[in-house]
């Protein structure tokens, strides 16, 4: 026998399967953790002693803990969220209380740390309460869209064929419009108000979410472990539940977190155009819109809602980037 006879023992030469390969060649050492000193059983693998076994999410959190930039911005986001939740406790004034004499006052006027707006309402209190609406408009549409788009994408990607084509081409129809235009069109057609605004944003986010889930699922579906699962007799729903979802969740989550800031911006835009929240409910976009006329009277006060939108969305974006990096564990 030619070839690899030094490594693969010829059939005639080895009758006893328990004879280690190493026994045939005195120069053979180790290899894949096999010890040559222990004769039985020869193929036992040795665990590397120092490796601590860590699950996927554990390793993601480990990485996040060691990423100070993401931690700082996550803390800011958390602060904004907490402020919005505890608005009644921390807001110094009633956000709806108007004052004829105290209109458009600068920072620090009579105990109003951030001044007052065009109806004499306290800016700080309105910004804190406005965060409630903005964050809600940022998170709720993305959550619903991830759920709907994710399910559609996973079904389309896994089933493939005509069903996939039908789903994805329908999504392409929505894709054909710029997202802002689409949101404005839907909100405009259904009328203003917070619920309609959320619905409009949800519809805008479903197609890209669906596309992300579909491409992740298509990639997973082509891998051998799906075929192996099918070979062991698993039904499609079982395979999706145990083998697909876990692999699709990561990309979907990362994409969703990046959409939150987009959603906040779009919601503010809708309010700015009068299609979102109705006055006098405090909302950053709406505040920006109404204070616009007073930009030459109290420029810094007028810029505050814009600054709030900017800070919130940039922090969300940076946290999303950090998450993406942390979740990009080689698997």
């Amino acid at each position: 026998m030619t070839g690899y006879s030094s490594v693969i023992p010829a059939k005639a030469g080895i009758e006893d399967d328990a004879m280690p390969v190493a026994a045939l060649d005195p120069r053979f050492r180790g290899g894949d953790g096999v010890t040559t000193t222990r004769p039985e059983p020869f193929f036992e693998e040795q665990a590397a002693p120092a490796t601590r076994v860590r699950g996927y999410w554990q390793s993601v959190f480990y990485r996040l803990r060691h990423d100070p930039v993401t931690l700082v911005f996550a803390a800011i986001v958390l602060l904004i969220v907490l402020a919005a939740i505890c608005a009644p406790l921390i807001a110094p004034f009633d956000p709806y209380k108007e004052s004829i004499v105290g209109r458009l006052k600068p920072f620090g006027w009579r105990g109003h740390p951030l001044g007052t707006d065009e109806l004499g309402r306290d800016m700080l209190s309105r910004l804190i309460y406005g965060g409630r609406v903005s964050l809600l408009m940022g998170v709720v549409p993305v959550l619903i869209a991830s759920l709907v788009g994710g399910v559609l994408g996973v079904i389309g990607g896994f089933v493939g064929g005509r069903i996939n084509t039908a789903i994805m081409r329908t999504m392409d129809v929505f894709y054909a419009f710029p997202s802002v235009l689409l949101a404005v069109a839907i909100a405009g057609a259904m009328g203003g108000g917070m619920a309609n605004g959320m619905l409009a944003l949800t519809l805008v986010f479903i197609p890209p979410m669906c596309r992300v889930a579909e491409s992740a699922t298509t990639q997973i579906r082509a891998l051998d472990f799906i075929e192996a699962a099918r070979a062991s007799g698993a039904r499609t729903t079982t395979i999706i539940r145990y083998h697909v979802l876990g692999n699709v969740l990561g990309p979907v989550f990362i994409y969703a977190s990046s959409l939150v800031s987009v959603s906040i911006l779009l919601a503010s835009g809708l309010s700015f155009l009068g299609l979102g929240v109705r006055p006098p409910v405090p909302d950053w976009g709406l505040m920006l819109s109404t204070l616009r006329q007073s930009i030459y009277v109290v420029p810094f006060v007028c810029a505050l809602p814009g600054l709030a939108i900017f800070i919130t969305s940039i922090c969300c974006n940076l946290v999303s980037d950090g998450l993406r990096a942390a979740m990009d564990v080689r698997m």
């Binding site: 490594v7 290899g31 894949d32 020869f42 665990a47 996927y56 472990f225 145990y242």
Partner: protein
Amino acid sequence: MTALAHDPRDRGGLQQPMLIARDLRKHFPVKGSGGKSVKAVDDVSFTVGKGETLGVVGESGCGKSTLARLMLHLVKPDAGELVFDGDPVALDPGIAVDALRRQVQMVFQDSYSSLNPRMPVRDSVAFGPFVQGKGKNEARHIARDMLGKVGLDPDAFGPRYPHELSGGQKQRVNIARALATGPRMVILDEPVSALDKSIEAQVLNLLRALKRQFNLTYVFISHDLNVVQYLSDRVLVMYLGRVVELGPIDAIFEQPLHPYTRALLASRPSMDPAHRIAQPPITGDPPNPIDPPSGCRFRTRCPFAERVCEMTDPALGPWQGRQSHTAACHMHNPGSGHSLAASG
């Protein structure tokens, strides 16, 4: 072939082959080609006896992997018949595909993509028993047991994720996963091709030991003749979706009949510097399986090709009356009209 212990699932007895494939065919349509198709597996017939190892060899793209998937009905055959232990597969009366998959399992070539990256390997192993109706705890218990059987310490390796294992360790997990459902037959699709030579030998020895321990029947697919020789009882040589030669391992290696088998054997690298192979015994790529050559599919690369090879497709026939060793070549059919036929 070792004597089999009695398996309650055994229906036909030892004489009944584990698997009979009759004229299996799978053509994959090519999009936008106007009805053309890749003839991946074309009228392939063979049997796998109980307790034997059937080696399947051939170049890349000759249909080996499609054949493996056909045997598990992961790919539905366009035509032909599969009979598992006397029961036609996916026919009524017969054995359902689900039931077939309880008795036949597969080990995949690519150990990287054949394990779920987000699942600890013990869960990957437990998944098969779990979907086949075992409780979660029982499935986990089986997984522990199987990991131990393939030489991996279940406590040290079970909770790990695939990226924390070496190629050889992953392939052991794949073997454990295939065996966890207690199959009678295992299809090994190039199980050692991606491994280092030293690891390859360990995995091959493990496969032999497991075969004996669990009374398994193997279909072993590989492009490496040395590996096939080490493990197989009989060999099936494929070329462009066809069986060109089928026979006992010794007969194939000592007296190969088909020119393609001879070329394959001659193309094995020599480790002896005094006997270097100066000229490749076979050159070029196999023809396009969308438009295979007329007549014998090997004729375009065969040094003995004659007019008859172009005209008629040689049938798989016995050679010198030996029913166990067959080849599809006109040179071995005295009545074919090939000038070398008489000497065969």
